[in-house]
């Protein structure tokens, strides 16, 4: 259900008047503070399409770096009408009851989910929020669903260990969390995960990855089935599991 129609077709940023197109930016340049550094900051802003633009703050940080804050008018237009983003989600949100029913009806056995933080990532709060009964944002986690069997392997799990455990447990879905993103650790680790499962002969389980900073990569690039970002709730994940693993199933109204 994609919506492309919209009242406003072409939009611009808004400062205090429609169409003013004003935005704020800040950055550091590795040059000494002074008029030349300011000119460099203005040049960068110009290349980014800001005109006019104003350096409202510049501050030396030691002898070799300068921090800048700028305000300016963005010359770019945003084709809002052309943005094809799912207005809702491409699958329905289900109640735990509906999810359980779907699994019972279609699979006729419990759905097996294996979760972990891989690599050296020790941030379990996110995956726990999805898996543990306690849940997130008022929704109970997947452990709460009678028809889902959850194996939470915890943090710092090596990829080959995860692959082995998933096979042993006959996992329908593998849920992996990646929170540390410095030097794109999350991307590398996820690709490594996907590659490891691809090497297996068995049909691989559904691969789901989650974490707060996956903005500009796509699931296809990573070789997984789905990415979940900031603020994901367990219910969204449960709904997706049904949608992806039991595509034929439709909830009764």
């Amino acid at each position: 259900m994609l919506t492309t129609e919209t009242r406003q077709q072409i939009i611009r940023p808004y400062g205090d008047t429609t169409g003013d197109a004003m935005i704020q930016l800040s950055f550091t340049l590795p040059v000494p503070h002074g008029p030349r550094a300011e000119a460099a900051a203005l040049q960068l802003a110009g290349k980014m399409g800001l005109d006019p633009v104003s350096v409202v703050h510049s501050k030396p940080m030691g002898p070799d770096f300068t921090f800048f804050i700028l305000y300016g008018r963005a010359s770019h237009l945003i084709d809002y009408a052309g943005i094809d983003v799912p207005e809702g989600r491409e699958y329905p949100l289900l109640t735990p009851k509906q999810v359980n029913l779907a699994i019972r009806t279609v699979l006729n056995r419990r759905l097996v989910v294996v979760g972990a933080c891989i690599g050296t990532d020790a941030h379990t709060v996110g995956i726990d929020a999805i898996l543990n009964v306690k849940g997130f944002a008022g929704e109970k986690g997947l452990e709460y669903y009678r028809e889902i069997q959850v194996h939470n392997l915890g943090a710092q799990v090596e990829v080959d260990v995860l692959v082995r455990r998933a096979r042993e447990l006959n996992a329908d879905a593998v849920l992996v969390s990646q929170v540390v993103t410095q030097k794109s650790a999350h991307v590398h680790n996820t690709k490594q995960l996907a590659a490891a499962f691809a090497e297996q002969d068995d049909p691989r389980p559904l691969l789901i990855v989650g974490g707060p900073r996956f903005d500009t990569v796509t699931a296809a690039e990573l070789g997984v089935d789905r990415i979940f970002g900031r603020g994901t709730t367990p219910g969204e994940v449960a709904g997706y599991l049904v949608h992806a693993l039991m595509p034929s199933w439709r909830p009764d109204e």
Binding site: G15, D16, T17, V55, H57, I69, Y71
Partner: protein
């Protein structure tokens, strides 16, 4: 009462303020101005402007002044000449050109006086009605707890201001102020109609008032919380704008006894006369005034000149009381403007703010955020605003103008306001009644007492030498303004015997 101020010293300060104010009050009682007279006409229901945009009230007052002088007031000559009945007031527009004015005497005077009285009473009745309306809404919605959150909109375009004001109200603003265009205070007339062309603010016009009031009434109903509206009874048209505020149910008005003199170079006499009349209207309308002492600290140093703020507040209080304002209508202003680079700057701010709180326990103090030391560093600005918010809560201020992190850059954007509100909300919520845990030690107590002592000294000097001399000497805001300088002096007229003003007659009686 945490500072242990000496009640004797406080009483002395008030006594000296009354002495310093007395000659000025006398001046205000014995003079009128073109704007006072125009305000009378506005109360009498004269609205609209000619094809060039000059309001009819200006056309009338100028014509009366030319033909018979203003020293007897505009009311008698106008209502003598003006044939339209009380309920067909717009008739004058057709025939103003033909009106010939005289100063009526005898029965003619009596007839004019009656007509004028009726017309003005209608206007004041509308103000009274608005006041009741406000009270009813407040009773219905309940009044938000103090400190009230005060936010400005300043796009220059009333139709951009409205959604921004509504958005601000939804985000938690208790009071919305529509900033005026830079030039308006120097206009000797009030523009007409809805306007979209202001610079750094939107013109104060009756129609803009009406539009914004209606928009805020809508959002008040939506939120179940009465959102107050503020504008500026300031500049050359102070009395008229006060009248319009009463007629359109504004709730608070910026209105200071000296701001126009110092920051707009308006003549001192003109200002003192105008402010008295405007305050009488505010008193009647139940409007809270906001005084402008905060501004002094943008040109003077906030530590050196701290006592000038106190002195001015005591004068504003005295003038306000004399004009009929109750304590709870005295939104005395002060500001968080100490240089943040000074050691203990925050504790000095606490000393000043607590001093003001304790000197004026019943006044709805209006506390202004940092402006002068706000730079282009929006992070530093956000931080400074947070400490301002904190000082406000710790010293129990009544109305908190919400500071913008972009104060040093541009008039507030939608997002600036949103972030500013998040800031206030966090601080209020997180610190709760931290005032309970705030017991000023020797540093703060000492600083507060010192400022009070300096205030008493300055008041004594002013009481002796005269307020006009003090203003001429640059006492306030390090700006010198001689009594005969500045704009608008030619609009001041000494009242003659038999001067008649149907509005003051009602308003004076009310006190």
């Amino acid at each position: 009462m945490k500072l242990g101020l000496d009640p004797g010293t406080v009483a002395t300060a008030r006594r000296l303020a009354a002495r310093a104010a007395e000659p000025i009050i006398e001046l205000a009682r014995t003079h009128t101005t073109v704007s006072v007279e125009r305000a009378v006409l506005r109360l009498a229901g004269i609205t609209g402007a000619d094809a060039d945009g000059t309001p009819w009230v200006n056309r009338i007052v100028d014509a009366v002044r030319d033909q018979v002088g203003l020293e007897h007031g505009v009311a008698l000559p106008f209502f003598d000449a003006y044939e339209g009945g009380a309920y067909e007031r717009d008739a004058y527009k057709r025939d103003l050109r033909d009106l010939r004015f005289r100063l009526p005497t005898g029965a003619a005077a009596e007839k004019a006086r009656q007509k004028a009285g009726r017309a003005v009473r209608d206007g004041i009745a509308r103000i009274d009605g608005n006041r009741r309306d406000r009270d009813k809404r407040l009773a219905e919605y309940g009044d938000p707890p103090m400190p009230w959150i005060y936010l400005i909109v300043a796009t220059g375009d009333i139709y951009e201001d409205i959604p921004q004001a509504q958005a601000a109200a939804r985000e938690g603003a208790d009071v919305i102020a529509v900033i005026r265009s830079t030039g308006q205070s120097l206009l000797d007339y009030v523009p007409e109609g809805a306007t979209r062309q202001g610079y750094a603010g939107t013109y104060a016009t009756q129609e803009n008032f009406r539009l914004m009031r209606a928009a805020l009434d809508d959002v008040s109903a939506e939120l179940g919380r009465y959102v107050r509206l503020t504008n500026y009874a300031s500049g050359l048209c102070m009395p008229e704008i006060a009248a319009l505020a009463g007629l359109e149910r504004l709730d608070m008005m910026l209105n200071d006894c000296m701001y126009g003199i110092i920051f707009r170079d308006i003549n001192p006499i003109r200002t003192f006369v105008d402010q008295r009349f405007s305050r009488q209207i505010h008193a009647r309308a139940g409007i809270v005034i906001n005084t402008g002492e905060d501004n002094y600290l943008t040109t003077a140093d906030a530590v050196d000149a701290a006592h000038t703020v106190i002195v001015s507040q005591l004068l504003n209080e005295r003038f306000g009381h004399e004009a009929g304002l109750a304590d709870r209508q005295l939104g005395l202003g002060h500001a968080f403007e100490i240089n943040p680079a000074l050691p203990d700057s925050f504790r000095m701010e606490l000393a000043h703010a607590q001093l003001v709180r304790e000197l004026f326990p019943d006044a709805p103090l209006k506390y202004m955020p940092p402006t002068k030391h706000m730079t282009g560093n929006i992070f530093a600005g956000y931080l400074l605003d947070a400490f301002f918010n904190l000082a406000g809560v710790m010293t129990d201020q009544s109305i908190i103008l919400v500071g913008m992190m972009t104060e040093g850059i541009h008039t507030p954007w939608l997002s600036d306001r949103d972030l500013a509100l998040e800031n206030v909300r966090y601080v209020r919520q997180a610190v709760g009644s931290l005032a309970e845990d705030f017991r000023p030690g020797p540093f703060i107590v000492g600083r507060a007492r010192q400022v009070l002592a300096e205030s008493v000294d300055l008041l004594a000097r002013i009481a002796d030498d005269g307020l006009l001399t003090a203003i001429a000497d640059g006492t306030f805001g390090v700006t010198r303004r001689p009594p005969d300088g500045g704009r608008g002096l030619d609009g001041v007229v000494r009242k003659a015997d038999g001067y008649h003003n149907p509005a003051t007659e009602i308003l004076d009686a009310h006190d």
